[in-house]
């Protein structure tokens, strides 16, 4: 990696080539491939949107309903009649935002240490973390409930936020990312300038790992937003739950499941997630030129 040293700091992140000869044909081929991928990715989503505009019986009729129906408003109305959609959405937002902020901080801090510092027990502690990560998650639910009940967190959002505040997935990810992104010369230089550990973390490490943090932030938020099994167990008051748990209460109301309503609920629940992605993903390919020494 020494080759990069001494190169002028101006940089166009990830733009490998300016247009060169033959790019026009290659550009069209590139778009053709990307569009095929786009269609494959979006078609089921489109279909799901269409389902939300139909009644349950229409959804399961043949041929599949691929055009908008007229049931959307009716589905929305029965959705809002059956669950406290906005109340549970606020709960979900509180949990997902708190966890995301905590995870971004704790995971990137720990990852910085594992990626760039040497200290007694480093390998063992890292291996232990990876081993813990590999324990099947299903093992923990029941005993964890007992512990939470003891300390009185059951039924509160604390039971969701605190255990999720740091995780091996994010530490491992940020460690791998920092290995490639933070060059030792940068740290050495900042140390000569008298920067301590926290300043190195905040002013040297974090600015160059923004794409890595963006990925971790988006998918931590999403994981919390969509989490279902643990909130279902831990939130014992059916009137004070997260959105996914509220949506699950729609199954089997009035004897059978109204799939039109279920699809509408799932779709409306996605909107905050899509906003977070749209905003967060811009950070993945952002202009890192300023401030970051390359």
């Amino acid at each position: 990696m020494a080759t990069i040293q001494g190169v002028k700091p101006s940089r166009r992140p990830g733009k490998p080539a300016k247009p060169i000869k033959g790019t026009r044909g290659r550009g069209i081929a590139l778009h053709a491939v990307l569009v095929i991928g786009l269609l494959l990715s979006t078609f089921p989503f489109y279909w799901a949107v269409m389902m939300s505009t139909h009644s349950s019986t229409e959804i399961f009729s043949y041929p599949p309903k691929l055009l908008p129906g007229s049931h959307f408003l009716e589905n929305v109305r029965s959705l809002f009649d059956n669950i406290d959609f906005f109340g549970s959405m606020v709960n979900s937002l509180i949990v997902a935002v708190s966890v995301t902020v905590l995870v971004l901080f704790f995971d990137s801090l720990a990852a910085f240490v594992f990626a760039k510092f040497e200290f007694p027990g480093r390998r063992t502690l890292f291996a232990l973390m990876m081993a813990i990560f590999m324990v099947p998650a299903q093992l923990s639910a029941i005993p964890q409930f007992v512990i939470m009940a003891r300390i009185g967190w059951i039924g509160t959002m604390t039971a969701l936020v605190v255990p999720a505040a740091a995780n091996a997935f994010g530490i491992f990810w940020m460690r791998q990312y920092m290995k490639g992104a933070i060059h030792d010369e940068l740290l050495d230089a900042s140390k000569l300038d008298g920067a301590g550990f926290l300043r190195q973390y905040w002013h040297v490490a974090l600015p160059v790992v923004r794409p890595g943090l963006a990925f971790l932030g988006i998918f931590t938020f999403m994981g919390q937003w969509n989490d279902y099994a643990w909130p279902l167990i831990a939130l014992t008051n059916p009137d004070n739950v997260t959105l996914q748990v509220a949506l699950s209460q729609l199954n089997g109301v009035h004897g059978t499941t109204d799939y039109g309503m279920v699809m509408t609920g799932a779709l409306l629940a996605l909107i905050p997630l899509l906003i977070v992605f749209a905003v967060g993903a811009r950070q993945i390919i952002a202009d890192l030129g300023k401030g970051a020494i390359r």
């Binding site: 490998p16 991928g37 786009l38 990715s41 043949y62 590999m134 099947p136 923990s140 390919i285």
Partner: protein, 321 residues
């Protein structure tokens, strides 16, 4: 965590990391220990007891209600000779391989394409993210109909190129291909975003230099992109292994309607019954909590073993992981 030493090996192959404070005692590193402490404190508070309890459980017989009965090693002895468990390991590995290799290759190609100077990359990125958030209920309905024998899209395509219909959700291989396809569809964009983030660590100047030396796109990919992406590739391989070998949702939603005896049975002939599905079946269908715990520890060992193999394979050619 008596098993921890077994996994000591993988990270041990990382002799890297500049020794910033090499010659001081343990206490002088207190900032570093403090910085990594949250994860371990959370595990000690909320993870250790559950893990210990399940270990304890695996040496007992318990139906979840009555009294526990000490069983010694007999649950593990039975596990070793349980052909259904070994079958579920086979299913899991086949499904994992069918999903993981296409997924990683496609994700890498997508990321490199999106990273090149292409227009509308925001639109593409957004579109490729959608499979990851499309409602599980919708995914189950849609893929159920894509792989339906008489009306499905998959068979329509086969017939269009002159091949016979396949009863996808009724044959051992069809089930595995269907689950693998579903997983590939759902996770390719996710991995592409990981790779895309990883690509941002490669300075544009390197590509420019390569281009001036007359390197083509393929050469550039193998000489520059791939070697510099190795830490991120290692991450993706390990994560795909850990999550892929514990796959549960995909087979469960796809096969729950065709399952005859239980929602965890994994379809006809149990061809889609993964290890975690088998764990659920033993624990919650059969109320065999002791054996379920033993199965879970069996899963843990398989996952650790595979992760070590992967770690070795990806990192071998480069010491700096």
């Amino acid at each position: 965590m008596a098993t921890a030493p077994t996994v000591d090996k993988p990270p041990a192959v990382a002799p890297e990391a500049p020794a910033v404070h090499p010659k001081k005692g343990v206490l002088s590193h207190w900032r570093l220990y403090l910085a990594i402490s949250p994860f371990y404190l959370l595990f000690l508070s909320f993870g250790l007891i559950p893990v210990g309890f399940s270990l304890y459980l695996s040496f007992h017989r318990w139906d979840g209600l009555g009294s526990m009965e000490f069983a010694g090693l007999s649950q593990y002895q039975y596990l070793l000779s349980d052909t259904e468990f070994w079958g579920s390991i086979g299913n899991t590995i086949v499904i994992w391989a069918l999903a993981t290799f296409p997924m990683i290759a496609l994700a890498m190609v997508t990321a490199v394409m999106l990273n090149s100077a292409v227009r509308f990359k925001n639109v593409y990125r957004f579109a490729y993210f959608l499979p990851n958030v499309t409602s599980v209920v919708a995914v189950a309905i849609i893929f159920g109909s894509v792989f339906s024998t008489n009306f499905g899209l998959a068979n329509a395509l086969l017939q269009a190129i002159g091949l016979d219909q396949v009863a996808w959700l009724n044959t051992p291989w069809g089930i595995k291909v269907a689950i693998g396809t579903l997983m590939t569809w759902q996770w390719t964009g996710y991995n592409a975003i990981i790779f895309l983030a990883g690509l941002q660590t490669i300075p544009g100047e390197l590509y420019e230099a390569a281009r001036m030396d007359g390197a083509g796109p393929v050469q550039t990919f193998f000489r520059i992109t791939l070697p510099l992406m190795r830490p991120v590739l290692l991450f993706v391989m390990v994560i795909s292994t850990v999550t892929g070998l514990q796959s549960f949702t995909e087979p469960q939603v796809l096969l729950q309607t065709t399952a005859n005896d239980s929602t965890f049975s994994g379809g006809p002939d149990h061809a889609g019954r993964t290890m975690v599905l088998y764990f659920f079946q033993q624990t919650f269908d059969n109320n065999d909590f002791g054996y379920g715990a033993a199965v879970a520890w069996g899963i843990f060992l398989v996952v650790v073993l595979f992760s070590i193999i992967n770690w070795r394979l990806v990192q071998r050619r480069d010491e700096e992981q």
